[in-house]
Amino acid sequence: MIAINVDMDKCQHYGQCVFEAPDIFKLNDDDKLEFVATADDSRRSDIESAVDVCPMQAISIVE
C-alpha cells in the first residue's frame, strides 16, 4: 500500500492532481481538495505524476 499526504497549508486547491489520479484526488462542490490517504501499489505511477504536477508541491508519498 502507498500512503499519500497532502500538506493542506500548501495546497491551493488548483485541482491539477485530479487529472492524474481522479480515483485518489477530487475537488468537492466547494472546489476544495479531497483525497484518499492510501492506495494500492499499482497506482504509484499516477500518484507520482500527481506529485509532479502539483504547483504548490503539496503532495507527498509517505515511504
Binding site: 491551493q12 486547491h13 488548483y14 485541482g15 491539477q16 485530479v18 487529472f19 475537488l27 472546489d31 505511477s45 507520482e48 506529485v51 509532479d52 504536477v53 504547483p55 508541491q57 507527498s60 515511504e63
Partner: protein, 400 residues
C-alpha cells in the same frame, strides 16, 4: 561498457529527465552539471509565498526520489562548451564529461536593462534562490520598490511587495499588465485590481536611467519623469542560456530548436541523435495548436518534456526496437500556468496568447471568472480567476 548520460542544468527540467530515464529502465551513469550550487528547487514560490516569508532552500527544494539517488551531481561549475563529434561537455573549471546521451536543460536567465548609470546597488532580478534571498532582505515596510516589467513575475513581485508593506510602482512598455496571455479586457481588469491594492502603474513607458551614486534613489522614465526608488526589480524578459552551445551547429537562434522527439536540431534542419532539449529552452512544434516551433516558459513544460526525453532517450541508448515508434508518437503537451496575486488564484491552460478573440464564458469580470480564448471557432486557451471546476471543464475541451 554501460552507457552514460550528461544533463546540463540541474533544475526542474534536468531532474525530471533523470527521473524519467530511470523510470524507463536506463541504469547507466547520470551526471548532472549545474551552474548553481543548489540541488534542484522549485522557482514559482520565489516571487510568491516564499518571497513573503523566509526564503530557504529547504522551503522550495524538490524531493529527490529514490530513482535518482545514484545520480552524480556536479554543481557550481557551469558547462562552457560542447563538442558534438567527440561527444564531450567541458565546464568552466576545465573538467570534461563524455556522454552517450546529452540533455540540454540550461534554461533562462533574466535580461537586465542596459542603463548609463547602471552600476549602482539596489538592482534585483528574480530567477534563482539567491536572487530571492537578496531581494527579500530589502522588502521591508515603506521601501519604495519599482518593478520593471508587467508579465507574470513582475505582477507577482508587485503583489508580494505590496503585501509586505512596500510602496510599489510597476513600469512597463506594455499597455496593460500581463496583456500577452490575458488579452486586453482581462488585463485591464487585472490592472484595476492591482491599483485597488495600491500599486501605481506607469504603462507604455520604459526606463532610461537610474539616479543615485552608490545606491539607487530614483528611476528615470523615457518621458523624463523621475520615480523615487530604493529598489528596482527587473522582470522584463529573459536570455537563453545557450552560450555553451555557440561552437556547435545546433540551431540556437531562439532557445534550442528540437524535433517532436525533442532531439536537438541543427541549422541545416537535421536532428542530432542522442542530444535532447527540455524545459524553458526547448523550442518545439505542438500539434495541439499548429506546426510553429515555440518555447513555452510554463512550469509544466519541464515535467512534460523531461518525461518525453526520458522515454525516447532510454530507448535510443538501449537500441530498443520501439525507438522509431516512440520518435513517431506525436508530442502535444497542454501548456498550463498559474499565478497567485493577492487573493486571486489565476489559472490557465492552452495558448491564450495565440487567440484572435476571447469571450467571458463564466462568472463576472469584476469577480471570479473564466475567459475562453478562440482562434476562429476553436477554443485554444482558457484562463480563470478562481472557479476551478469551471476552468477544468474548459480544459477538458482543449484536449478533446
Amino acid at each position: 561498457m554501460s552507457k552514460s548520460v550528461v544533463i546540463v542544468g540541474a533544475s526542474m527540467g534536468g531532474l525530471r529527465a533523470a527521473e524519467a530515464l530511470r523510470n524507463n529502465g536506463f541504469a547507466g551513469r547520470i551526471t548532472m552539471i549545474g551552474e548553481e550550487a543548489h540541488l534542484p528547487y522549485n522557482r514559482p514560490p520565489l516571487s510568491k509565498e516564499v518571497l513573503a516569508k523566509e526564503v530557504t532552500h529547504e522551503a522550495v527544494a524538490f524531493k529527490l526520489r529514490s530513482q535518482v539517488e545514484d545520480v552524480t551531481w556536479h554543481l557550481g561549475d557551469p558547462a562552457t562548451s560542447l563538442d558534438l563529434d567527440k561527444k564531450v561537455v567541458t565546464t568552466a573549471s576545465g573538467k570534461s564529461f563524455e556522454y552517450d546521451g546529452l540533455v540540454i536543460a540550461s534554461g533562462l536567465r533574466p535580461r537586465v536593462l542596459d542603463l548609463p548609470n547602471g552600476k549602482i546597488s539596489g538592482r534585483h532580478t528574480v530567477r534563482t534562490l539567491d536572487d530571492a534571498i537578496g531581494l527579500r532582505a530589502e522588502l521591508v515596510p515603506g521601501t519604495k520598490v519599482v518593478v520593471a516589467g508587467a508579465g507574470f513575475i513582475g505582477c507577482e513581485v508587485a503583489a508580494t511587495a505590496r503585501g509586505l508593506g512596500c510602496e510599489v510602482t510597476n513600469v512597463a512598455i506594455d499597455p496593460y499588465p500581463m496583456i500577452r496571455p490575458l488579452g486586453e479586457q482581462l488585463a485591464a481588469e487585472l490592472q484595476r485590481r492591482h491599483e485597488s491594492h495600491g500599486v501605481n502603474f506607469k504603462l507604455n513607458h520604459g526606463i532610461s536611467d537610474l539616479i543615485g551614486t552608490e545606491k539607487i534613489s530614483g528611476v528615470v522614465l523615457d518621458s523624463g519623469e523621475v520615480i523615487q526608488a530604493d529598489v528596482l526589480v527587473e522582470a522584463i524578459s529573459s536570455h537563453c542560456n545557450v552560450e555553451w552551445l555557440s561552437e556547435t551547429k545546433l540551431d540556437i537562434s531562439n532557445g534550442v530548436l528540437a524535433d517532436s522527439a525533442l532531439r536537438a536540431v541543427t541549422t541545416d534542419g537535421a536532428s542530432v541523435e542522442g542530444v535532447y532539449v527540455v524545459g524553458d529552452l526547448a523550442r518545439f512544434a505542438n500539434p495541439l495548436f499548429d506546426n510553429e516551433p515555440r518555447r513555452i516558459e510554463h512550469w509544466n513544460i519541464p515535467t512534460e518534456t523531461g518525461k518525453r526525453v526520458g522515454s525516447v532517450l532510454s530507448a535510443y541508448l538501449a537500441d530498443a526496437e520501439n525507438f522509431a515508434e516512440l520518435v513517431a508518437t506525436p508530442f502535444m503537451p497542454l501548456p498550463s500556468f498559474w499565478s497567485d496575486q493577492y487573493d486571486m488564484k489565476i489559472q490557465g491552460f492552452g495558448m491564450p496568447g495565440l487567440a484572435d478573440r476571447y469571450e467571458l464564458v463564466a462568472g463576472e469580470l469584476s469577480d471570479e471568472l473564466v475567459m475562453g480564448y478562440f482562434r476562429g471557432e476553436i477554443l485554444i486557451g482558457v484562463v480563470g480567476i478562481g472557479m476551478t471546476s469551471e476552468v477544468m471543464k474548459y480544459r477538458k475541451e482543449l484536449i478533446s
